[in-house]
Symmetry: C2
Subunit: 311 residues, 2 copies
């Protein structure tokens, strides 16, 4: 059962409680962007989880802090896009990512000045740049954020949002940077309570998750520009696996990256070409991020995609 | 193999790279507190992860945002303790927890006022209280924070820190709030590269992790006051599992809590007694946290523990 039918999955599993609210918000957001004649990109971000119990204490997770996705949002907005950001709960978010509580804790940047709390001079100028961008994105309604936790909820949201977004056809881009689980425990095999510690150890049997990129490309959003990601740890597999995904799902671009060098090198793999995008030591030292190059490149590809559709 | 020998585990597994640095910091911190004649508590917090590959893309995780641990630190400091906070990377930390990037994002609280960035009046008074406590904790060197990601690194740090802390004997408390994995994949069975998606699904076989609470109580820190936690989802199991842990490991207190009510009710289980600590709706509405009651109670128990040891 490599490709489980879409209907089957969405019937067998319970939708997230707020699915209708998400649907409503997405439609409102999209209508606003249509009026402004903006392009819209869906950015997915962070790892997805696979619960091992119904009352979940344990789960299988994917490594992802959400850096790629959250950084990319900022550059998409700079390029004139409106963004729907579908992100894993507690993973990094655009703008605030520069001040996560584990790094650059903002409390360290604050001084008490009589009755006021002010940002220390040392941090002031960088924060002002971030804050101005953030306030602009909010004021101009350029960003809609929706969070998920489990891979199941991710699929429900992805399905719903993609179908809504597909109404703007070529003007929508799908930038699927979330690290989606490959395996899950189907509902009928899930235990109710916390699995107890026991000397015998634990044997888990997980099924492959449905490959929803296939219906996304062919049915949910057939006219959009679709970009997926491939993360590997074995360099011998990267390009071949990326090309395989492109052949299998029939979308436009796979961005391949290695776990250890993902902030320095990515590969753009398209049907006819392969291109490496790289950061120099100098660029990295200056705090430049590879996502700025990725998004500039995609903007051009999207221009072409829209242009082609007119012929 | 329920209890794997301590030496065996710490020989078979590779220590975290910075273990010597952590050792040095802990000793310096402890020496400073000894001079100030302070009590010291080790607070562990957050979930631990079990990697499924050496070059880790996937892992098994435990549900824990680190709320219990990070909140408790603030109340311990209010009670005069110095705290070593051993926490899961990216989980909540004391003080900054009030402004995580996913809730109460601090960027929403800032205004640009000419060249300054200031905290909006609406948020000013609450933040001032937090900020003053935070600055005091730093200025008086009351808090040492050490982060981990995998259960293996957690065990190495726990072992090292506990042994150092045990030199102050009864004046040390161990408040083990981290949600420690019960199962892991031993190094000899770990695959190197990312497990590939495949139609056949995935079978995982995990061993039980060594129960280090046993040597911690009997060998690493035999004179300290040791508090462990028991989280369950099945109410019929909670008290019996907590009492079982107390019998098995021989320490002083188990705090039992249910997944769904953990912010409202906890049970203190000791050798001779059982006591429920509860929050009223009124208290919860006023933003009071159950950890303030837990820590007040533990402070009294610690007073008695130290007093008894003098006889």
């Amino acid at each position: 059962m490599e490709i489980q039918g879409e209907d089957d999955y969405f019937v067998k599993n319970t939708p997230p409680k707020n699915i209708e609210e998400v649907e409503k918000k997405t439609k409102e957001f999209l209508n606003f962007q249509i009026e402004k004649d903006r392009r819209v990109v869906l950015v997915t971000s962070g790892g997805t989880t696979v619960p091992l119990e119904n009352q979940t204490v344990r789960f299988v997770d994917n490594f992802s802090a959400g850096t790629r996705g959250s950084a990319s949002v900022e550059y998409f907005i700079e390029q004139g896009y409106a963004v729907i950001f579908l992100y894993r709960q507690h993973s990094l978010r655009p703008y605030s990512r520069h001040y996560s509580h584990s790094k650059n804790c903002f409390l360290d940047m604050l001084d008490i000045d009589n009755d006021n709390i002010i940002v220390n001079n040392k941090y002031n100028s960088f924060m002002k740049i971030i804050l101005e961008k953030y306030k602009k994105a909010k004021a101009e309604n350029l960003l809609l954020e929706i969070d998920f936790f489990t891979v199941k909820d991710y699929f429900f949201y992805l399905n719903k949002i993609t179908k809504i977004l597909s109404t703007i056809e070529e003007k929508a881009m799908y930038y699927l940077a979330a690290a989606v689980s490959d395996f899950f425990i189907p509902p009928e095999r899930m235990v109710e309570h916390k699995i107890q510690s026991r000397a015998g150890g634990l044997n888990l049997s997980l099924d492959q998750v449905p490959k929803f990129l296939k219906p996304l490309v062919s049915e949910w959003a057939p006219k959009g520009l679709i970009v997926s990601f491939k993360l590997e740890t074995d360099p011998d597999l990267l390009i071949s696996k990326a090309r395989q995904a492109l052949d299998r799902y029939g979308h436009q671009i796979v961005i391949g990256n290695m776990l250890l060098t993902r902030k320095r090198v990515v590969h753009f793999i398209t049907k006819d070409a392969e291109r490496k995008i790289e950061m120099s030591d100098e660029e990295l030292k200056n705090g430049m991020e590879i996502e700025t190059k990725i998004i500039s490149e995609l903007k051009i590809k999207h221009d072409n995609w829209i242009e082609q559709s007119k012929n």
